[in-house]
């Protein structure tokens, strides 16, 4: 049994009210809940109040954006997004990445906004409270030592949002509402280098929509995972070929998705191997995951044709 701790629940009708409530002490925004609520059960978060975004109309729908792009509501369910005709026609890699999340049922519950705001993950962190207590917790939760890199000062919990590598390559911009006004942050600048403070958006900010500019070139997306369903990625790879050469974003290998570029395919692979360093944040062997960065990147380049 993993009962919820006590918290209260609010379901505001307006973005202004949602932002006011989410700025309260120990308040958290709740979207699909597929990652947040298991984590609350594991006592990784102990909110006093959960603020549901379910009734916020501004978070729904897909509409034409500026410059031939699309503006996608953050409350769009992942299954709506991967089946949306405009998304499939104009951003097929985004549709594919969205359809790779967890399971079909979780895609019907989870939202685009929830995926962008997903907590970083680590095998020492995403565990029941009793499991963590046996180890004395970790840097990200309750403890003082990182079990992945005990001599390091930082937290290496892995960014695991499936839609983010593609949105990063597309140059998408996350549009937030806050108590002090609206805020636009490029997805490429939304994440930081420490697994505890990985989000560069201010606390309590409500992700309202994501602006996706018109795609310039095709993108190939690959997700390496243990099983064909449910599992988070072990290596996420998005790659595109532009006039100057290849550009790729690799994720699930640290707190922040990593962008690399290279004039040729081999230069891209070399650039990636120079900066991408998977650590023991997952059960799978680190040398194998490091090798798979190269393999997945080559496969993705091959899929570009």
């Amino acid at each position: 049994m993993l009962p919820f701790p006590r918290f209260s629940f609010e379901a505001p009708d307006t973005v202004a009210e949602a932002v006011r409530l989410s700025a309260l002490p120990r308040a958290m925004l709740l979207s699909g809940g597929t990652d947040l609520l298991p984590s609350v059960k594991h006592r990784l978060f102990q909110p006093d109040v959960l603020v549901s975004t379910r009734r916020l109309r501004e978070l729904r729908g897909v509409r034409e954006g500026a410059d031939g792009g699309l503006t996608v509501g953050a409350g769009m369910r992942l299954s709506e997004l991967s089946r949306d005709a405009q998304v499939r026609l104009r951003f097929p890699a985004l549709a594919a990445a969205t359809a790779s999340v967890a399971t079909p049922t979780i895609q019907r519950m989870g939202t685009l906004g929830g995926n962008l705001m997903l907590d970083t993950r680590c095998m020492y962190y995403n565990q029941p409270a009793g499991w963590r207590a046996a180890l004395g917790g970790c840097l990200k939760c309750e403890g003082t030592v990182c079990h992945v890199a005990p001599k390091g000062a930082g937290c290496y919990a892995a960014h695991s949002a499936d839609t983010v590598p593609v949105l990063h390559l597309l140059g998408a911009v996350a549009c937030f509402a806050t108590t002090s006004g609206d805020l636009r942050i490029p997805v490429a600048e939304l994440y930081g280098d420490d697994g505890r403070t990985w989000l560069n958006s201010p606390p309590g900010a409500l992700l309202v929509s994501v602006d996706i500019p018109d795609a310039k070139a095709p993108i190939a997306y690959r997700k390496l995972r243990q099983r064909g369903a449910i599992d988070y990625g072990l290596v996420l790879t998005a790659v595109t070929r532009e006039a100057e050469g290849f550009r790729a974003v690799i994720s699930a290998v640290g707190p922040r998705p990593i962008e690399v570029s290279g004039a040729t395919a081999e230069a891209l692979v070399d650039a990636a191997l120079a900066v991408v360093q998977p650590l023991a944040t997952h059960q799978q062997a680190v040398p194998w995951r490091r090798k798979m960065v190269k393999v997945e990147l080559r496969r993705a380049i091959g899929e570009l044709g």
Partner: protein
């Protein structure tokens, strides 16, 4: 007690508890619930609808799958309060007048249950799939079943039953 809400199907704050109004298997239902009550606890412990099973508790296994406004939801990681004003369907609401629906009938015909604990979740997932996509391909069928886990590993019989259920539904059109 607070004054009853004038808006039907609304959630109103009462100290820590909320007035929750929703339809459960077509029955208008009104209860006081705390904000942290899961839909699974609400269905099993308060309404005594124990057909929905309590499995992994964190949204991995699919045993607690119910339909909320026709969409599959993992009730262990859904808050009851977040279902205000919705129509919830559980396994108890599937058979009409004691007559099994095509998915249940196919599971019965193919004995697609060993311990049976995962079965209500599989039935709800397949009911949604065939309502959403009655002509699902074999690949779509297998992908959809990725939402549910059977630890007796009886997947061959479950797949056989699912294909048969699809034929029964197509034949009835």
């Amino acid at each position: 007690m607070t004054t009853p809400t004038t808006t039907p199907m609304a959630t109103t704050r009462v100290a820590q508890d909320l007035v929750l109004e929703l339809l459960v298997n077509g029955e208008p239902t009104r209860r006081l619930v705390p904000g942290h009550r899961s839909l699974l606890e609400f269905l099993r412990d308060e309404l005594r609808l124990t057909g929905t099973k309590h499995g992994c508790d964190v949204g991995d296994c699919g045993a607690c799958t119910v339909l909320v406004d026709g969409e599959p939801r993992l009730s262990c990681i859904t808050l009851a309060a977040d279902c205000a004003g919705t129509a919830v369907e559980t396994i108890e609401g599937v058979a009409v007048g004691g007559v099994l629906d095509p998915v249940q009938a196919a599971f019965d015909a193919h004995v697609a249950a060993q311990c049976g604990y995962c079965t209500p979740g599989f039935v709800m997932t397949l009911r949604h799939l065939f309502a959403d996509n009655p002509d699902a391909t074999e690949s779509e069928l297998r992908t959809a079943l990725g939402s549910n886990i059977c630890r007796c590993t009886g997947y061959v019989k479950i797949l056989t039953a699912a294909r048969d259920a699809q034929r029964r539904i197509q034949a009835a059109r």
